[in-house]
Amino acid sequence: MRVKGRHKATKYRGAAGFDYHRLESTATQKSSYVTAASLILVLILSSAAFLIPDRYLPGLILCEMLLVIHGVYRRGNPGVIARVFIVQLIITMSLYYLIHGQSQLAQGAVAVLRILLAFIPGWWLSITCAPERIGEVLTWVLPVKWAFVIAASISLLPYMTVELREIYHIQCLRGARISPKALRDPRNWSELINCVIFPLLIQLLKLSRQIAVAAQLRYFGKSKQPTHWR
C-alpha cells in the first residue's frame, strides 16, 4: 500500500515537472561513476609507485601533490602522511646505514619516497569518496550473495560494536585484565580472547543464523533480479 502511494506521489511530481526522485537517483548514479573512476585512478597511481622507472618519478610526484592539495582542501589530515613518512624513513635509513654505510643512503631515500607515493592515493580515496558509494561500485562486480553479506556486515557493525563495548565493560567490572594498559602485555591477550571475543563469537553465530532465516523468509536468492536498497 505504501509503495503504491509513493509511486503515485512520484508520478504526480513527474507531472508537475519536478521529479526529485529521478533527479536524486541521477545524482547518485553520477557520484557512483566518479567513485569507480577514483578507484581505478588510485589503483593505477599506487601500482605506478612500485613499477615505473626512476626517471618518471617526478611526474608521479606532481600528480600526487595535486591529490594531497585536493585532500587537504577536503579537510583531510596531512599528519597521517607525515607519520608514515617518518616511520618508514627511520626504519629504512637506519637499516641502510647499518648494512651499506653512507654510500647508498640516496637509494634508500628513493625507496621510502616510493612507499609514500603508494600510500597517498589510498589516503586521498578515503577522504574524497563516501563508503556507501565504494560499496555500491563493488556490488557491480561482486556476486549478489556476497554483496548482501558485505552490506549486512557493514550495516550491523554498529550493533556489533555496541555488543563488544558492553561485553568489554562488564568483563572489566568483573576484574578481567583487559584494560588498554594491561593489553600492552601479550600474556593478557588470551584473557581478551576468553572474556570478550568468545562471548562475541557466540553472539555472531546467533546473529548470522537469525539474519539468514530472516533473509530466506523474504525469498532472498529466489529471484534473478534482486532489489537494491539505497
Partner: protein, 181 residues
C-alpha cells in the same frame, strides 16, 4: 573455483561478520604500527576461527577477500585497492596449505602450521614490495626476516588460542554441524 565459494547463507554471513569484526578491531585497538606484525595476530585468529566453524576449504579465502573489501570500503589501514592484497594473500596461502595438510595433524598443530604459512605469505609480500621500490637485496632480506620473526610470534600466539575456543564452542553445542577436527 566458484563452487568452493558456494557457502550457505548462514556460513557466508558468519564469514562476513568475522571479516568486519577483524577490520573493526584492527582499527579500534590501533594495532597498525607501520610494518610490525601486530595485524597478523587478529588475521590468523579470525581466519582460523572461520575455518574451524565453517569447516570447509575456501572459507579462509572468502574471509580474507571480505576483510580486504570491508577495509577498502571503511578506509581502514593504508586504504585503497592495494589493501585487498594485504588481507587476501595470507588467506589464500592458508587455504592452499589447508588442502595439503587437511587431516594430517591434530587441530592444534595444523593451526600453527597453516598460520605460519600465512605469515610467510605476508612477509613475502612485504619482501616483493621492498624489492619493487628499489631497496637492495640485503636490506629487503633483513626487513623480510624481521617481519617473519615478529609476525611469526604473533601468529603462533593466535594459532595456539584457536583450538581451545573451538573446543569451547563445540562443548556448548554452538557449532551446528560437523566442523574441522
Amino acid at each position: 573455483m566458484s563452487k568452493s565459494f558456494n557457502f550457505s547463507l548462514q556460513d557466508a554471513l558468519f564469514i562476513g561478520f568475522c571479516a568486519t569484526l577483524l577490520v573493526a578491531l584492527k582499527s579500534m585497538l590501533r594495532l597498525k604500527l607501520g610494518i610490525s606484525g601486530h595485524s597478523m595476530f587478529l588475521m590468523t585468529f579470525f581466519y582460523l576461527i572461520c575455518y574451524g566453524v565453517v569447516g570447509r576449504v575456501g572459507s579462509v579465502s572468502a574471509c580474507g577477500l571480505q576483510s580486504g573489501l570491508v577495509a577498502m570500503i571503511l578506509s581502514v589501514g593504508k586504504g585503497g585497492p592495494l589493501i585487498l592484497i594485504k588481507f587476501a594473500l595470507p588467506a589464500i596461502a592458508m587455504d592452499l596449505s589447508l588442502i595439503l595438510v587437511a587431516g594430517l595433524f591434530t587441530l592444534r598443530w595444523r593451526c600453527v602450521l597453516v598460520g605460519l604459512i600465512g605469515c610467510f605469505a605476508w612477509a613475502t609480500k612485504g619482501w616483493v614490495e621492498d624489492l619493487l621500490v628499489g631497496m637492495t637485496m640485503q636490506v629487503a632480506l633483513v626487513q623480510f626476516a624481521l617481519s617473519m620473526l615478529k609476525g611469526g610470534m604473533f601468529t603462533l600466539l593466535a594459532a595456539l588460542m584457536v583450538p581451545p575456543v573451538l573446543e569451547r564452542l563445540k562443548s556448548h553445542d554452538l557449532l551446528y554441524k560437523e566442523s574441522a577436527k
